[in-house]
């Protein structure tokens, strides 16, 4: 029976995938054609969604941007045999956008049914966990350090060092917390993992627990991701039934339990200590550090807090070894990063590549330029707290240190493209506005500085350009005086807009040269 794949992730659903799936089933039955419908995950080629695939002897053939009204004509054209149609895009694995990627973490994504354990095992699942179960904890932490895996949430702290600290801490209870509060605009890789390959995250968390001696894990998912929550919860039920979780993980007599906690629409809860407060049922107010969460985290116990992508990358490192993973990348940025090309871009999607690729390559070779067809002008990298990069910076290799050298951040690998109709002063003002909405209120530079920031930029935009000095002074206070990245990094987009696009603030471009 021919297998037809219609994705079930929220991007496909937002473009009508359920209606397409229903139409395919009813059209097939009307024509008396037996087909098997599989609801797979997303391939990450979001510009092609909804992407319907048909299994043929030559491989999986894709039909892109399908609408419900196309279904009858797809059957007429013989799409069940992979035949030509206006929506036909050929063998999906051969599409250059996908073929040129280096998919390690996202190797299975979109190929499998996210909730099929059989699919997961058929594509290499659990190999990492099996090795972890027989590994020495300290040696495993050293191997993770050796692999070069750094926190993919944005802070880029070496994961193995964090794990080693928790392993070495004596306590009656330790925790693994997965940060799935993916609130940065322009990022969706965590969501894709949870919706399209949740078992990989579950495996990564079990490994973290086994290695560090933590027996309980929590995934803190933002409430804006109901589909991710539902898929993850369904996957956990299956994993528990299959004996991966509980008192006897895969028959090893080791214990690990896993729970999903739902956020409630607070951006700052993506900051690790605010997340701990929220997990404890309190207001998501940032804690002062030290103590480090690795020593005193959830309920005051040693806690590993890693981002979804970090934990989802752990299984392949354990399965293939540190040397394999380390072989990708450049400098001190080892391995791959799932870049997310978003905003005003023709071909948006997930592009996993080794560190070292440039923004220009991502923007044009993959992204295909802007969606509007106008010249791209600024790209914000690393979420709302990342800088706006002008074209002069698009050839810097994507590497934590190379970006830091120009005051930019790679962050979670999200790129938001803006065309030449954008107004960077407006975007800078928005950055301050967002900080004012989302500040937890604990420290003054963030809570009050953001509100003053909105006002000062408003005055500059109305022509009072002398206020620029005040804005810079305010940004300096926020950077130096805030407790966490919310207030401490909101000035990054603001100052980069001011430095690289002074004309949008009503300043002459001479100040651009002075800043450079």
């Amino acid at each position: 029976m021919t297998r037809i794949f219609v994705p079930r992730d929220s991007s496909a659903l937002a473009l009508g995938a359920d209606a397409i799936a229903a139409a395919i089933v009813s059209e097939a039955s009307r024509r008396g054609m037996p087909v098997e419908l599989v609801r797979n995950g997303s391939r990450g080629l979001l510009y092609l969604e909804p992407l319907v695939e048909v299994e043929t002897p030559a491989g999986r053939v894709g039909y892109a941007n399908v609408e419900e009204t196309d279904v009858a004509s797809l059957f007429d054209a013989g799409f069940v045999e992979g035949k030509a149609h206006a929506r036909h895009v050929g063998i999906v694995d051969d599409i250059p956008y996908l073929k040129k990627q280096q998919r390690l973490t996202f190797a299975r994504i979109g190929i499998t049914d996210p909730l099929s354990i059989d699919d997961y095992l058929a594509y290499g699942g659990l190999e990492g966990l099996k090795k972890a179960l027989v590994a020495d904890g300290m040696a495993a932490c050293e191997a993770l350090i050796e692999s070069g895996l750094r926190g993919r949430g944005g802070a880029a702290f070496p994961a193995g060092i964090k794990w080693r600290t928790v392993l070495g801490a004596a306590a009656d209870q330790k925790y693994i917390v997965c940060n799935a509060d993916e609130g940065d605009s322009g990022t969706f890789s965590d969501r894709l993992v949870m919706e399209s390959d949740p078992f990989m995250l579950i495996e990564g968390m079990i490994i973290a627990g086994i290695i560090t001696g933590a027996t309980v894990g929590h995934v803190y998912v933002r409430s804006e991701y109901p589909h991710a929550i539902a898929t993850l919860e369904a996957a956990i039920v299956k994993a528990r039934a299959a004996g991966w979780l509980g008192d006897d993980v895969l028959g090893s007599a080791k214990r690990f339990e896993l729970f999903v906690a739902k956020g409630a629409g607070s951006y700052v809860c993506g900051e690790e200590t605010a997340m701990l407060e929220s997990l404890e049922g309190k207001r998501g107010v940032v804690r002062a550090k030290p103590p480090l969460p690795a020593l005193s985290g959830l309920h005051g116990k040693p806690t590993v807090i890693n981002n979804v992508i970090t934990l989802a990358t752990v299984p392949i490192i354990f399965a293939r070894g540190a040397a394999f993973y380390k072989d990708f990348g450049m400098g001190r940025s080892r391995g791959t990063l799932p870049f997310q090309i978003a905003g005003n871009v023709k071909q948006g999607g997930l592009v996993e590549l080794a560190f070292g690729v440039t923004l220009r390559e991502l923007l044009f070779d993959y992204g295909g330029g802007t969606a509007s067809g106008r010249p791209a002008r600024a790209v914000q990298v690393g979420g709302p707290l990342g800088t706006y990069l002008p074209e002069s910076q698009w050839d810097i290799p994507m590497d934590y240190e190379a970006y830091a050298a120009v005051g930019a951040v790679v962050g979670h690998g999200g790129l938001v493209v803006h065309d030449d109709t954008s107004n960077l002063a407006e975007l800078a003002q928005y950055a301050m506005h967002f900080c004012a909405i989302e500040s937890c209120g604990k420290c003054t530079p963030c809570r009050i500085g953001s509100i003053r920031g909105v006002e000062v930029i408003e005055r500059i935009r109305k022509g009072d350009t002398k206020q620029v000095e005040l804005l810079r002074d305010l940004c300096d206070t926020m950077v130096s005086g805030s407790l966490c990245a919310m207030g401490g990094m909101t000035p990054f987009p603001v100052l980069s807009a001011l430095d690289h696009f002074p004309e949008d603030f009503g300043l002459d471009t001479a100040s651009k040269a002075a800043a450079a």
Binding site: S10, S11, L13, A14, L15, L46, Y47, E49, E182, G183, D184, S185, G186, T187, F188, R191, S223, E224, Y225, P226, H227, A228, A261, K262, G263, A264, G265, S266, Y267, S278, L279, E280, G281, K282, R283, G284, Q340, I341, A342, G343, N344, V345, G348, G349, A371, Q380, P384, G414, V416, V417, H418, D419, S422, L427, Y430, F434, I437, E438
Partner: protein, 159 residues
């Protein structure tokens, strides 16, 4: 949406609060059940969780997701974050306000509730929005008009 009046607040809390549950989880359960968090649940919640009323009130009002009033029969949550801004969400917001005669983030009195949200994770398919919890991506003014008409028609259907 509002069946909270049908049951006493103590019963509502009793239905959802379990030992060991975090306050956040209980609040989610109550809101998922009756659509919002009525003021009357604060005292029984404080009792059930051994917290002060001020602490419970503090948590409810800290998080954007929690509502202290029922949502409008048609609630539109439009993403106003960077990726959607780069694809014209601000112009779309103006269109939506003109079309509905309502204002964004103006409270809970309107028949059509317009709310700003910051990222629905559909940043490669901007602009995106939720209408009564259902996600829509690549929304244009024309597409919005069709979606709105369908949502209003559903609202007016006899239950």
């Amino acid at each position: 949406m509002d069946n909270s009046t049908a049951i006493a607040p103590e019963q509502l809390v009793g239905r959802h609060a379990r030992p060991g549950m975090s306050l956040l989880a209980i609040l989610h359960a109550i809101q998922d059940d009756v659509g919002y968090l009525p003021e009357s649940v604060v005292a029984p919640l404080a009792k059930a969780t051994n917290l002060s009323r001020a602490e419970v009130h503090g948590v409810i009002t800290y998080y954007h997701h929690f509502r202290t009033h029922p949502a409008a029969p048609v609630t539109i949550e439009l993403c106003r974050a960077e990726a959607c801004r780069s694809m014209g969400t601000e112009a779309l917001a103006k269109h939506i306000e003109a079309r509905t005669g309502c204002r964004f983030d103006s409270g809970h009195e309107d028949a059509i509730g317009l709310e700003s949200v910051y990222c629905l994770g559909q940043c490669a398919l901007s602009p995106s929005m939720m209408i009564n919890g259902v996600l829509h991506a690549r929304v244009t003014s024309q597409k919005f008009d069709t979606l709105l008409a369908a949502a209003v028609a559903r609202m007016e259907e006899p239950a």
